[in-house]
Symmetry: C2
C-alpha cells in the first residue's frame, strides 16, 4: 500500500483554534462544474453616488444626513441586530428550551468618502485611518460595562450578502462572547497555560520556517493560508508580536496592519482579476475586564470563490450536516496566491 500523503490523498485536518476537524479532498478539484454561476459585476462606480446611504452628505434610512466626512466615519447601524436597551432576562423550560436576552451595539464604519474605492485600491495612509477607527471603537465600546466582546468585520461583495459597494465595515459589540471566539478563547487559554506562549506565536514561527503556506509579510504581520483552511482561498493575518488586542499595537505596527491588509487584498483581486468578495474580521481579546495574555490578535478572511470569478464553493449538504470540506489543498491555494503580481490588475491596465 502507498504511503499516506496529505497533498494527494483525502484526509482530515485539525484546526487547533476551534478544536474541530475539516475534510480535504485534493483530487476533487478536477470535477467539471455544471451548477450555478455567479454574476460578475465589474462595475465602474462614481466617487459619489447620490443614492448611496453611506456617501458623505446623503440621507440615511433613518432620515439623518451623513456629515461631509473626509476620511472615515462611523455611526450606529439603522438596522442593528443587537440593541442596547434589551431587558435582561432568561427563559428556561427544562434543559431543552433555553433562551437568554442579548444586548449590544451595532455600528457601520465607512472606510472612505470615495464610493468608487475598495481596500486594495486605497492608499496605505488611508487604510491606516480605518485601523485607527477600529482602535477607537474597540477602546470606547470595549470600556463599557455592558460590552464583553467587540466583533469588527467587513462583508465585501454582493455574493457575501453585502448590500452596498461603498467601502465599509461593521461592528457588532455584544454583552456575551460569541460562539467562534469563545471556542478560540478556550483553545488559546489551554495552550498558553501549557506552554507560556500564545498558540499563534508558536504556529506562526513554525509556518515561517516551513514557508509553504506563507503569502506575504512585513515587519509586524504575516499573511498566510492556515494549515486548516476550509474555504478555497481562506487566509489569516497574524501579528508577529503576541499582542492580545489592537490597543497594544505600536504606531508602526498599525501602519503595518494597514499595509498587509492592502497587500493581501491585492492578491485576492488579482487571482481572478475581479473585485474579490469575502467576509473578514478581527479576532482579539474579549473586553470582559479580565487580562487575556493567551489571546493573539489575528484577522480571518473567508472568501467564497473557488474556480473562477463566477464559480464559488457551496458549503451545503455534507458541509452542513457532516464536516466542512474543501477541494484544493491549503498548500496549492497558497502557491497560486503567492505567485500573483503584487500590483493591482486595474492599475496595470490603466
Amino acid at each position: 500500500m502507498d504511503k499516506f500523503d496529505y497533498i494527494e490523498n483525502p484526509h482530515r485536518r485539525y484546526n487547533p483554534l476551534t478544536g474541530e476537524w475539516i475534510l480535504v479532498s485534493p483530487h476533487r478539484s478536477k470535477r467539471p462544474w455544471q451548477g450555478q454561476v455567479e454574476k460578475v459585476v465589474e462595475d465602474v462606480r462614481p466617487p459619489h453616488d447620490p443614492n448611496c446611504y453611506l456617501c458623505p452628505r446623503n440621507e440615511r434610512v433613518g432620515g439623518e444626513n451623513n456629515p461631509d466626512y473626509k476620511d472615515v466615519y462611523s455611526f450606529q447601524n439603522d438596522f442593528s441586530a443587537l440593541l442596547q436597551d434589551t431587558p435582561k432576562g432568561k427563559f428556561e423550560d427544562g434543559e431543552l428550551f433555553k433562551a437568554e436576552s442579548e444586548s449590544g451595539v451595532c455600528k457601520v464604519l465607512c472606510f472612505s468618502p470615495d464610493h468608487s474605492l475598495t481596500v486594495p485600491e486605497m492608499e496605505v495612509d488611508n487604510i491606516r485611518k480605518v485601523v485607527d477607527l477600529w482602535c477607537k471603537e474597540y477602546d470606547e465600546l470595549g470600556s463599557r460595562e455592558d460590552i464583553g466582546y467587540v466583533q469588527i468585520f467587513e462583508n465585501k461583495g454582493a455574493i457575501m450578502g453585502c448590500s452596498n459597494p461603498h467601502p465599509h465595515g461593521q461592528i457588532w459589540a455584544s454583552a456575551l462572547v460569541p460562539l467562534e471566539t469563545s471556542k478560540e478563547s478556550e483553545t488559546q487559554k489551554e495552550y498558553f497555560e501549557q506552554h507560556g506562549r500564545t498558540m499563534l506565536f508558536d504556529y506562526l514561527n513554525s509556518e515561517l520556517e516551513k514557508k509553504e503556506r506563507i503569502l506575504v509579510e512585513n515587519n509586524s504581520f504575516v499573511a498566510l493560508v492556515p494549515f486548516w483552511a476550509v474555504w478555497p482561498f481562506e487566509t489569516m493575518i497574524i501579528s508577529k508580536r503576541p499582542v492580545s488586542n489592537l490597543l497594544e499595537l505600536t504606531d508602526e505596527e498599525k501602519t503595518d496592519l494597514a499595509d498587509i491588509y492592502k497587500k493581501l487584498t491585492i492578491m485576492y483581486d488579482n487571482l481572478f482579476e475581479v473585485s474579490f468578495a469575502y467576509s473578514a474580521g478581527l479576532h482579539q481579546a474579549p473586553t470582559d475586564g479580565e487580562e487575556h495574555p493567551e489571546w493573539h490578535l489575528h484577522m480571518h478572511f473567508y472568501p467564497p470563490l473557488l474556480r473562477s470569478a463566477s464559480v464559488k464553493k457551496f458549503m451545503v449538504g455534507y458541509e452542513m450536516l457532516g464536516t466542512p470540506q474543501r477541494d484544493i489543498t491549503a498548500e496549492g491555494a497558497a502557491l497560486r496566491l503567492r505567485e500573483l503580481s503584487k500590483v493591482h490588475y486595474k492599475s496595470k491596465t490603466k
Copy 2:
C-alpha cells in the same frame, strides 16, 4: 424596565443537539433589502433530458451508461470526495499540525427516472421507494468494517450548490464520524445516561404539548421548526418512536416517513410559490459496531430563502466570525408555514 420576551427582544437560544447557542434578532426582519437577489428559475423540464447524466439510459461523465431504471437507482459518485483505497496514515508535527487520512464511499441516488419531478410532486408510493433505497444503502454501507458513518442527504436547487435538477440525493459514507454528528452523539449520550430516554423523545413530547412550532404530523413522524433553528425556515422531521436508525422502522413507519417528507416539502414550495431550495439530511446512529440507544433518528432541513423567492439569508460576516444569527423567530416561521395550503401550488393552477 420591561420584562424580557423572546418573541420581541434580541436573545440567544441554546441548541441542545450541538451544545451551541445562536442569536435571534426578531425586530430585524423589517429592514429593507438592497443586496443580491437570486435568479428565480421556474423551469418546466421534460420527463427525459438527453443531456442529463442522471436520466435513464444516458451516458455519465465516466463513460458508463445508466440502466433503464424504473424507480430509483444508485451508483458510485464519479467525482467522489472520499475514496475507498486511501492509504491509512497520519501526519503530525507538534500539536498544531495534524492531519489523518480519511476513506469512504460517495454515492448518488436517483429518486425517480422522471427528470421533471421533485419530492413534493412525487407520489408517496414512489418516495417510499427512496426510503427503501436509503435503508438498503445504510444497511450495506453501514455493515462494512471500514464505514463508521453513513451520511444521507439531498441538496436541492441551484442556490444550494446542486448542479443538476434531476431529483436525486447523495450519500457520503466515511470511516470516521463527521463533525456535526459527533456533536450530536455526545449531547444525546449525556442526556440518555441521565434520563434513560432519548433527548428528542422528550423534546418532541414537549413540542407536541406546546404546539407553537409544530407544522404537520402523521402516525409516526412530526415536522416542526426547532426552538433553536438558525436558518429562517429551518425544520426537522423527528420520529415519534425513539428509533436509532432507519433499519428499526416498521413498514408503516417507512411509508409515514415518505408521507411527511412530501407534506413538509409541499409547505416549502407553497411558501413563495417556487421550487424551494434546501439541504436536507438524515441524522442517525453511527455504524461503528456499537449499540446506540441514545441516538434518535431525525432529518434536518436547511433552506436558504428568507423574504421571498429571490432574497436569501446570508450566513456571513458576524455569522462566520461570531455567532449564527436569524432575523425572524422560530415561532413566526412555524406560523407562516403551518397556515399554507396542504395542496401543491402547481397542482392547483393546472
